[in-house]
Each structure stands twice: as C-alpha cells, then as structure tokens.
C-alpha cells in the first residue's frame, strides 16, 4: 500500500536549511493498523503530510497503491488525495458554519460529488445520525471528531491518516474515537496510519514506528 524509499524532506529557513526527514524507508501493507510515535520535532507530522500527498519529498521515492506519486503535479496530488486518502486532524478542522451533514458531504465534493445517502450512512457509522443538522459549535469535542471521521470515510478511501486524533479530547472521548477507528479498520479493512503520543493507544495498533530526528529508530509489534 505504502512504500517509502529514502525519503528526505528539507525546508529552507532563510539562508539555512532545516532537514526534517533523513532517509525514511517504510513499508505499510494494505489493511495494516500502524501507529507513529516520537518526541515533538521528530518529523511525525511531516511524514504524515508526505504520505497524505499534501507535500512532496525533497528526495526519495513514494509508491502509493502501486503508483509513484512523489513527482506528481499539485493537481494530480489533489486528485490522489480526493480518491485515496481520508484525513483526521487533531483540531477536527470542520467548517464552523456548515451542519454536520454538510461537513461530511464535503468529503465527497471533490471526489465525485455529494450523495445524501452515503453521507447519512457515514454519519450512522460514527453514531451521529441524530446530530446531522447540528453545527460543530453545538457538538462536543468527541462528537466533532466523529463528524471528521465520517467525513474522512464517506468516500471509502483505502487509506485513512490520523494526526493525533485524540490530542484535543478527554480520555473517555479519546477511547471512543479509537474504538471507532479500530472498528473501521477491522470491519472494512481500511489501512490506518495514526500519529499519537499515547502509548496506550499505540499498543492497540498492529505495529508501532518510532521516529527520532527524522529517522525511523525502532519498530515494534505489541
């Protein structure tokens, strides 16, 4: 599903350069549930952005679903994002003025167009059918994150990337979110890559990748 070969990422910082990723090699099979851990500044988010096709590596090769995507144009990358990748963010990133339903429907807007039935199904999967018309401000943090998950999965992507999905939630809501994500993984066989600080959450995954200073320093299977 995901194959990274010697991926590096260098950001220009004025005259100096900031090297965030130093030669990452990584293979993730279809249907795997993987956690990425590491101290802040270790390059977790940058790695997730690269895998999510939001950014391009400075060097190295990235095969997604059998296709080399590291040299695609920004328009083609957008298409890949629209078709293959669902994002779940730490800060939810819902549009505040839209209802939960409209937010979820937005997940289909750039990949085939809105579909009310699929949207309702996605909301049902995260247990929010009765909150469809509520705006994000009228929902709890956990509910907002469930809307965001529904938005990510509404287009049935093969890959979901979650960047600290429980980082802004209390522990009970966090557990709910993780159970929804793991259920999705087991029931639908979605490949799930999750950045987390929480060792408990990481241990519910099939594989833990430890990053430090832009390199993979350890891999373990709990």
């Amino acid at each position: 599903m995901i194959r990274l070969e010697g991926i590096t990422k260098v950001y220009p910082m004025g005259k100096r350069e900031l090297t965030v990723l130093r030669g990452i090699n990584l293979n993730i099979k279809q249907g795997e549930l993987v956690a990425v851990m590491g101290p802040s500044g270790s390059g977790k988010t940058t790695l997730l952005n690269l895998i999510g096709c939001l950014d391009k590596p400075t060097s190295g090769k990235y095969h997604l679903d059998g296709r080399e995507v590291s040299r695609l144009s920004s328009g083609e990358l957008a298409k890949v994002r629209g078709q293959k990748i669902g994002f779940v963010f730490q800060t939810f990133n819902l549009l505040p003025r839209l209802s939960a339903l409209a937010n979820v429907e937005l997940g289909l807007r750039y990949s085939g167009g809105g579909d009310r039935q699929r949207t309702m199904e996605a909301l049902a999967k995260v247990g929010l059918s009765d909150r469809a018309s509520h705006r994000p401000t009228e929902l709890s943090g956990g509910e907002q994150q469930r809307v965001a998950i529904a938005r990510a999965l509404v287009k049935n992507p093969p890959l979901i990337l979650a960047d600290e999905p429980t980082g802004n939630l209390d522990s009970r809501s966090g557990e709910e979110i993780i159970s929804i994500l793991t259920t999705l993984h087991t029931e639908q066989g979605i490949t799930l890559l999750m950045v987390t600080h929480d060792a408990n959450i990481a241990h519910q995954c099939q594989r833990i990748i430890q990053l430090k200073d832009g390199q993979v320093v350890a891999e373990e299977k709990p």
Partner: protein, 417 residues
C-alpha cells in the same frame, strides 16, 4: 449537471454563510449600477425628447432665410439690401432641385389684429397653399385657403390656436371678421396646437401672400423679383437632405450672382442637421453622466476585491481543508471567482431594479423640486451593459483574490488560525 451545479452551490454557500458581508459588498455594486441606469436614462430621455420635438416639426424640413440683418415687416432696405430671397427663387428651387416634395415661400410681418374690443400684435405669415403641408400643420377646425383664394388675393385668415383664443375666447372664430393692419379678413380656419417651442405656429396667423401684399407693400429686388422672408421646403427622401442643401446653395448663388469669394446672402437650416447636432450634444451628455456613474461602479468593484481578499484570508483554513479533501487549485479558484461573480451579478440585477425605479421617479419628482419637466428612458442596451459590466467587474476584481486562494499551500493553510 453535477459538474456545473456543485461549484455554483459551493459558491452560493460561501455567500449565504456570510450574509451581512455579502449584502454590504453587493451594495457597492447596487449603487454603481443604479447610478449608471438612472443617469443614463436621464440623458437618453433628454435626447429622445429633443428628437421627438424636432420630429413633430418635421424632420425632413429645410428652411432658407435671407442673410444677416434681414428685418421683419418688409422694411425697405437701404443700398446693399439683405432682402435677397424671392418668389422666383422658390420657383427655381422647386423646378431645378431634385428630391423636393413641396416648396413654400412665405413673407411675414408683425401686424395689429383687432376684433371688437380686443386686439393683439401677431406675426402674420403671407403664404402659398403648400404652407400647411411643408410645415406639418393640421387644422383644428375650418379649412385652409384654396389655390383660387390665393390667385385672387382673398382676404381670409387661418389662426394659430393661441391667437384664436386671445381674440375670440371659447367662441368659434370661423366666419368671423377681424381687422389686420389696413384690411379686414375673414377667419376660415384654426390650427391645431403644436405646443410651445421656437417660433411656434400657435402664435401666428396665416393668410395668402397675395392678400398680405394688399396691406404690406410688396418689396421687389433690383431684378424686379418679389421678395419673401423665407422659403420652407420638404425633402422627399431624408437621406438626400445634405445633397439638397448643396444643390440649393449652388442654385441660389448662381441666381443671386454671387462671386466665388462672396459670402452666401442666405442661410439654410436643415432639421436633419439640427437634429443630428442636438443628438450629438445630448449623446455627449449621456456619456458624461454614464462615466460619472461608471466611476462609482468601479469603486464598488474595488470594494468587491477588498472583501474577497479579506474573505480569502479569513477562510485560509477552509481552503486548507478543502485542499486536503481533494480540491484542486482550479476548484478553489472557481469557487472564489464564482462567489465574486455571484455577488456582482446579484448586485447588478438589484441595481437595475433600483435604477429603473429612480428613472421612474425622477420625472414625477423633478417638477415638484423645481427642476422642470424631465423625461427618462431606460433602454435594453443600458441594462445589458450595466449588468455585464458589473459581472465583468466581479470577474476582474475577483481574479486576484481567487488566484491567491488557489495558490495557498494546504499544509500552511491548515495550520493557520
């Protein structure tokens, strides 16, 4: 269908979720378009009114009058007289110049009119039988003098409507007698009113030229020709108007034996020419009004750009989210451009309504505010122009903000607060 509908509904969503801001942005365009529509309608209305006035006088009329210094009343001129037009000139024009349908020479004098105890001083036009046709006049009652009346110098008169009212009040003047200068004439007709205007026939009296010469002595030129004060004629084909003017000028210069260096001793005024010069003047005024209004439309457009730039800044995160969900640069670009076009189109439509309303109210309110009669005219071309210009402004001023939005880096956009 979906392909077209989705971007439209997205753009509409962007507008509907920021109602107050959208309305304020539209307001600039509404005022601009309304100003264009109403000011241009005033200009167009003035043009139409002037042209209609000229049309009522007869657009195909050409008037020839004697040279400068020509006085009314058949005053015998001293040496170098300017009383140069003659009956024979009229005769020659009617026979030798092509594309003329009728020629009416006339001589006018100011005479005292007396009926019973009432009297008035009025312009009396000694005319031939073609006078009515050439001057586009109609009778309200009675009849006009015949060729026979003209031949024998019958003392009959046709009154302008104001003259008839001054002398006879509401009573019918037909068949009544009145004193005119040194003769007694019988009224045989009254003209339909043409309304106030330059040299209005409402204030004049028409009698056969042969009858006029019985009270005002006939003036003759050195060649023995009978002097008239003006010759009015109608052109059978309006498009030949300029050619007719040229032909008459050449003919009269020959007949008056003017050398190549001499100035014309007559003046030719063509209604066609007058109409076109007036139309040019009012057209310039319309354009000027439109330009002033156009500036307010431009200011409105800059307002749209301002708002769109702010909107892009404020919605940076939204743009990031959309990009993460698979929006291409083009999708974002179209979204913001459509929003701008939507706002300006709606503003344009509302502006047309407001402008149209103003154009309707101006003629009603102008007299009460002491601005005199005003006519306004809203034409389809102004409406189409104003709306398409406003949408064009939306696209033009929306382009840069939309481009800015589309170029945002999704990672940075998602990180923004």
């Amino acid at each position: 269908m979906k392909k077209w509908f989705e971007p439209l509904s997205t753009a509409w969503g962007g507008i509907a979720t920021h109602k107050l801001r959208s309305i304020l942005t539209m307001l600039g365009i509404v005022i601009g378009v309304a100003a264009v529509i109403s000011l241009m309608s005033i200009g167009k209305g003035a043009t139409a009114q002037i042209l209609a006035n000229i049309q009522s006088m007869g657009a195909n009329v050409i008037t020839i009058s004697g040279g400068a210094g020509f006085g009314p009343g058949g005053v015998r001129g001293a040496g170098g007289s300017t009383q140069t037009l003659t009956m024979e000139d009229a005769e020659a024009i009617s026979q030798q110049v092509a594309n003329i349908s009728a020629v009416a020479p006339s001589s006018s004098s100011n005479l005292q009119l007396v009926v019973g105890g009432k009297n008035t001083n009025s312009q009396v036009n000694g005319a031939t039988t073609s006078y009515m046709e050439v001057n586009n006049l109609k009778l309200a009652s009675g009849s006009f003098f015949s060729a026979e009346d003209y031949q024998r110098g019958a003392k009959v008169a046709v009154l302008g409507s104001n003259v008839a009212e001054t002398l006879f009040g509401s009573a019918s003047p037909i068949g009544q007698r009145m004193r005119m200068g040194s003769i007694i004439v019988t009224v045989m007709g009254v003209l339909e009113s043409k309304g106030a205007g330059f040299n209005s026939p409402d204030d004049a009296v028409i009698i056969p030229l042969t009858a006029l010469h019985q009270t005002v002595a006939k003036t003759r030129t050195a060649q023995g020709e009978t002097v008239v004060s003006s010759i009015t004629l109608t052109v059978s084909d309006e498009s030949k108007s300029a050619q007719v003017v040229t032909d008459i000028t050449a003919l009269l210069r020959t007949r008056h034996r003017l050398g190549a260096s001499a100035n014309d001793d007559f003046r030719i005024m063509s209604m066609e020419e007058l109409a076109s010069s007036l139309a040019t003047a009012t057209g310039t005024m319309t354009l000027l009004l439109g330009a002033i209004a156009g500036i307010s439309l431009l200011v409105g457009g800059i307002g749209v750009m301002n708002i769109m730039l702010v909107s892009v800044l404020e919605r940076t995160r939204e743009i990031g989210i959309r990009k993460a969900l698979g929006a291409r640069e083009r999708d974002i670009w179209i979204q913001f451009l459509l929003e701008a076009a939507f706002l300006t189109f709606a503003g344009g439509i509302i502006g047309v309504g407001v402008g149209w309303g103003a154009a309707y109210l101006v003629p009603i309110l102008a007299p009460t505010m002491g601005m005199g009669e005003m006519t306004t005219l809203v034409t389809a071309d102004i409406v189409i122009l104003a709306v398409s210009v406003s949408v064009g402004i939306g696209l033009f001023f929306g382009f840069y903000p939309a481009w800015n939005a589309s170029r945002l880096n999704p990672i940075e956009a998602l990180r923004s607060e």
